[in-house]
């Protein structure tokens, strides 16, 4: 029987949650025995070419590309998990949510104390994904099956959640592994 497949991605996140996954230490060897990685920065696979059992989403949606990737994950993953505070509540990027987009652009490209931009233009190359009006948690964009909060979630939380899902046990994290910081 083929091993279950796991895909991961980082949307509007800092890759800290992926670091936390690596923080399971030598259990990473057991993980490699348990699963195959599909589309993920861990193996640098860029595209899905079939269904995947578990998708781990780090980061919320701050731009149109994030939304497309998240929808792609939802389409291909049987179980989708929001990993970390950015995916579950927007996180640090969502601090801009009370501020109009035009003010964010002006601060980033025109008025910020370290900005050097003699042309006074705000980048608008078609290659650049358009920002959304605000940063959205993943479950406000697609259906998400589980949430693992934390900034980042403890490595043990990720490990226990994966093992529970892979062995068909209920995913119930103990008190000390549900943390928002």
């Amino acid at each position: 029987m083929a091993k279950p497949k796991v895909a991961t991605t980082s949307l509007a996140g800092c890759f800290g949650c992926h670091m936390s996954l690596l923080d399971i230490d030598d259990r990473i060897l057991q993980l490699v025995d348990l699963v195959d990685f599909d589309k993920s920065p861990i193996d640098d696979k860029k595209h899905f070419d079939g269904p995947v059992d578990i998708g781990l989403i780090e980061g919320g949606c701050c731009n149109e590309e994030n939304v497309r990737v998240l929808q792609d994950f939802r389409t291909h993953c049987t179980t989708l998990i929001s990993v970390g505070d950015c995916a579950t509540m927007g996180g640090i990027p969502a601090m801009r949510n009370g501020i109009p987009l035009a003010e964010c652009y002006a601060e980033a490209y025109l008025n910020g104390p370290s900005v050097h931009n003699p042309s006074g233009e705000i980048p608008n190359d078609p290659e650049l994904p358009l920002l959304l009006d605000k940063v959205y948690p993943c479950h406000e964009v697609v259906k998400v099956d589980y949430h693992i909060p934390g900034c980042p979630p403890p490595a043990d939380a990720l490990w226990q959640a994966l093992v529970a899902l892979l062995t068909g046990k209920p995913l119930a994290l103990p008190y000390e592994l549900i943390k928002y910081d």
């Binding site: 929001s82 505070d85 579950t88 509540m89 927007g90 996180g91 640090i92 969502a94 601090m95 949510n97 009370g98 501020i99 605000k134 948690p137 479950h139 406000e140 589980y146 949430h147 693992i148 909060p149 900034c151 119930a172 994290l173 008190y175 000390e176 549900i178 943390k179 928002y180 910081d181």
Partner: protein
């Protein structure tokens, strides 16, 4: 037995004294009724509704309701858990609660309630309101992003400090804690040693220059849930 009475909480019969609230009687018997706006030493407010229990089948806030003989209270049941979880979730989406960098994280009663109820993510859409920070005072600041409108600071300042520094202004979603000055906290009598500063359950009113003093793993709610101390007394 002239003054005593008994009440029933979740099929447990406990004794209670006249003048006690349901919450106090339960606590004296080692039963934890979750609460947020209630704080010992302050006049009960009944503001947050986290402590709502069913008394003879009707929802009542346990922090304000006096005991009466023979009352039947439902506290620790699936439907009451669900009710409280939803209130806590609403409090999270209504403000801007960025636990990951908040000085109060680990010692925050709102966060601790969410941990106790095992909330991984709220089921309501986040509102992300635009709120202000008043850092004008040299020793304390108010971050309205984190305020849950529990009125603890208002009651503590009025009843314990005798200062009336804080009061509510506005209505509905515009309601917020205002200060008793034209605009800023620095223009009030507020002092870093005020009971009102200690009374804040979240990170809305904080002392300056003392944040993050306790390392992760040694904070109030890192290992044991909020209310565990009350429940431990029952077992002892």
């Amino acid at each position: 037995m002239a003054d005593g009475m008994t009440i029933t909480i979740d099929d447990r019969t406990i004794s209670a004294q006249p003048g006690q609230t349901v919450l106090e009687a339960a606590q004296a018997a080692g039963i934890y009724i979750p609460r947020l706006c209630h704080r010992e030493g302050l006049t009960p407010g009944g503001a947050c509704r986290v402590c709502v229990v069913l008394v003879n089948g009707r929802p009542q806030s346990a922090c304000t309701l006096p005991v009466t003989p023979g009352m039947v209270v439902e506290n620790d049941s699936p439907r009451m858990h669900e009710h409280r979880k939803r209130i806590i979730e609403m409090l999270f989406v209504e403000g801007n609660h960025f636990c990951m960098f908040c000085e109060k994280s680990g010692n925050c009663e709102l966060q601790a309630l969410a941990y106790r109820f095992g909330i991984a993510a709220p089921r309501y859409p986040y509102q992300f309101p635009r709120r202000s920070v008043d850092a004008s005072h040299p020793d304390i600041f108010i971050d309205h992003n984190r305020c849950v409108l529990c009125a603890r600071c208002i009651r503590a300042s009025r009843d314990l400090d005798g200062k009336n520094v804080f009061q509510f202004v506005g209505r509905g979603v515009h309601k917020r804690v205002g200060v008793n000055a034209r605009a800023r906290l620095v223009d009030t009598d507020a002092d870093v040693s005020d009971a009102a500063v200690e009374a804040c359950p979240v990170g809305a009113i904080l002392k300056k220059r003392v944040g993050y003093a306790v390392p992760v793993g040694m904070r109030l709610y890192d290992h044991a849930p909020i209310g565990a101390d009350i429940e431990a007394e029952a077992k002892a």
